[in-house]
Symmetry: C2
Subunit: 340 residues, 2 copies
C-alpha cells in the first residue's frame, strides 16, 4: 500500500500511527486502514483506535492524504478586498454552503494586486486544494493552467471556466431609469477603478440609457477603492457636486462616502439630491438616510458559485459556462420613490 | 535523500520533476537539489532548469516539502467574524506584515462557533501550517496541544501562549469619564454577547467608574452580534432609550445601529444624546455624525501579533506572555467635546 510505504519513509506520521497501534493493541496496517478509510476494520479494533485517537489528539496527516488521494477538503477563495462588505458577505455565504459538503474555505485577500493573486494561486496549487473560487480575477493564464476546478465571479477568464456575472450594464440602465422617473435632471455618475469590467459596464449602461433619453451625464472617477479615509482620499473630486440632483455611485461603500459628504454640506437627501448605489452591501442599511441601491443578490451569487464548484469537484460538467444574475432596484430612503 | 525517495514512491511530483530534468538536460537529482534548495547546483544547470520551470509553470509540491521539512509558509488566522470591520482590518494588517517575511495567510472564519473553530484548528494542523493567529478563541485545550506557535488576541488561552489584550476595563472607565465630563447625567450602556471577556471588561470598567462617582447606569444587552439587519434584530431592546443623554456601546458596529435608531426618532446627536463606541473600526468615519470611540489601535494590535508570531516561528522565546494595549478616547462628532 503506497500510503503506508510513504509513511515508512517519512517517519513523521508513522511515529504517531505506530504509537496508536501499540497503545490500541492493533496492527499498524489496521490503524492505516482506519485513518485512510480504505479497507476493513473490525468494530472492536475501531473502538480501541478511537479511544486512543481521542486521548492523543491525533490529526490524520491531511498533507500526505492530499498528495496521494488528491482529495484535499480545502477550497481556496480569492477576493480582491475583504474589507469591502459585499465580498465578505459573499465569503460567509459560500463558506456556509460548502461546509455542508465537508469543505473548509481558506480565504485569500489579493488586494487587487496581480502579483499577490499569482502568489496565492501558487500556494493553493502547492497545497493541492480541491478547487478555487476567484473574484474579480486579473491573472487569467494561471487559472487556465490550474488542474482543479475554478469558478469565477465578475471576470470572464476563458471559455472553459464557469463564471457568474451580474448584468452590470442592465444595472446601470436601471439606475438611470430610477433617477429619471423620480424627476432628476442634473445627473452625475461616480465611477471607480478602470480595470474592473463590472464597474465599466455599470457606467456604460447608465450613459447609454441617458443618451437614449437625450440627457447628459457628468462623470467623476474615484481613484482610491474602499479603505479607511476613503472620503478624505477622494474628497477633492467631490467639490461642486451640490449642483446635481441625482447621483449614481458605482458601489455602496463609495455611495456611503458621497452621502456623508452631502450631509456635511447640509444638502438634504432625497429632497435636494437623490443618491443610488450598487451591490446591496449591508453598510447601506446602517446609513441615515439608508441607501437605495441596485441589488446584485449576494445570496444568489454565493449560492450559484458554490453550487457550480461542488458539481465540478464531483466530476460533473456544466454546459452553460456563463451564469448571468439579473439586478434589481432596491428602494430605500436616499431616493424619493416610496418603498416597494 | 529522503525527499527524493518519497517522490519516487509518490509519483505525482516525480513526473513533473522528471519532465523538467529531461527537458533541461540535467539529472533528476540536480532538479531535486534545485527545487528543495539543499545542495550544490551549477550556475549553468540553474539557468537550464529555470528556463524549463518558467515554461512549464511548475509548482514545487508544498505538501511534500511541508511534511518533511516542517517548513510550510502558511499561517492560519482564525477570526470570529470577518464581517466585523475591526477584524477584517486586523487581517489586512497582519497579512501585510507576515508577507514581508514570506508567509501567506489563510483566513478562517469561525463565526463564534466553537465547533467550527475546532474544525479549522484540525484542518490547519493537518496542513502543517507554520503557526496560528487566533482571535477571541473559545477552544482552549486544542491550542495547548498544538505543536506550532500560536498567538492569541483577546482570549487568554494558557500561561504558555502569547496573548495580546487591550485593557478593556480601562477602556470602559475612559468611556464613562468622557460622557460625564461632557455633562451627561442619564447613562445607558449597551453590552454584547456574554461569553466575550473583552465585552465583559468594558462593561465592568464603565460600571465601576460610575459607582465610584455615585451615578447609576442602565444596561441593555444585544443578543445578536454584527450581521445584516442588526438593527431589526435588536430594535425591541432599544425602545424608550430617548430618555438617556449618554450611551456607551460595546463596539462600533453596534453603535452605528444605535445612531441610526436615534436619527430615525429625530433625536439630535450630540445635543440631546451623546454616543460613544469601542474599537475604532472604519465604519465610524462613514456615519453622520461620525462616531466618537474608545480606540484599540488595530495597527498596534496587528503589528504586535504578527511580530510575536514571527519571532516564535523563528525559534525565539518571548518572556512576557501577556502584551497589553492601552486604549484611548478618539473624539469625533457623536459627543460634544471638541476634536483633539
Amino acid at each position: 500500500m503506497i500510503i503506508l510505504n510513504l509513511l515508512n519513509k517519512g517517519g513523521l506520521v508513522l511515529k504517531s500511527m505506530r504509537d496508536i497501534a501499540r497503545e490500541a493493541g492493533v496492527s499498524l496496517a489496521t490503524v492505516s486502514r482506519y485513518i485512510n478509510k480504505n479497507g476493513y476494520v473490525s468494530e472492536e479494533a475501531k473502538k480501541k483506535i478511537e479511544k486512543i485517537v481521542k486521548q492523543t489528539n491525533y490529526t490524520p496527516n491531511e498533507l500526505a492524504r492530499a498528495i496521494f488521494s488528491k482529495n484535499s477538503k480545502i477550497i481556496g477563495l480569492l477576493v480582491p478586498n475583504i474589507s469591502n462588505p459585499y465580498f465578505n458577505e459573499l465569503a460567509l455565504i459560500i463558506e456556509e454552503y460548502v461546509s455542508k459538503h465537508g469543505y473548509s474555505i481558506f480565504l485569500c485577500n489579493t488586494n487587487d494586486d496581480p502579483t499577490k493573486e499569482r502568489e496565492y494561486i501558487n500556494v493553493l496549487q502547492g497545497h493541492r486544494v480541491a478547487g478555487i473560487f476567484t473574484v474579480r480575477a486579473q491573472c487569467k493564464k494561471e487559472y487556465e493552467l490550474f488542474t482543479v476546478p475554478v469558478v469565477s465571479f465578475e471576470s470572464i477568464i476563458s471559455d472553459d471556466i464557469v463564471t457568474i456575472v451580474t448584468d452590470n450594464y442592465q444595472g446601470g440602465k436601471l439606475a438611470f431609469d430610477h433617477l429619471k422617473s423620480n424627476g432628476c435632471n442634473h445627473l452625475l455618475h461616480i465611477t471607480g477603478l478602470d480595470f474592473s469590467k463590472a464597474v465599466h459596464d455599470r457606467y456604460q449602461g447608465f450613459l447609454d440609457e441617458a443618451k437614449k433619453e437625450g440627457m447628459s451625464v457628468d462623470i467623476i472617477r474615484f481613484e482610491s477603492d474602499f479603505q479607511r479615509k476613503m472620503l478624505e482620499a477622494n474628497i477633492k473630486t467631490l467639490e461642486n457636486i451640490e449642483k446635481y440632483d441625482g447621483v449614481f455611485v458605482f458601489n455602496d461603500i463609495a455611495a456611503a462616502t458621497v452621502i456623508r459628504y452631502f450631509k456635511q454640506k447640509n444638502v438634504h437627501i432625497p429632497d435636494e439630491v437623490q443618491v443610488i448605489g450598487f451591490d446591496n452591501s449591508y453598510i447601506g442599511e446602517f446609513l441615515f438616510p439608508s441607501l437605495t441601491t441596485i441589488e446584485q443578490s449576494v445570496q444568489e451569487v454565493g449560492n450559484k458559485m458554490a453550487d457550480a464548484l461542488i458539481h465540478l469537484i464531483n466530476g460533473e460538467t456544466i454546459e452553460n459556462k456563463i451564469i448571468m444574475i439579473q439586478p434589481n432596484v432596491l428602494v430605500r430612503e436616499s431616493t424619493k420613490a416610496k418603498k416597494e
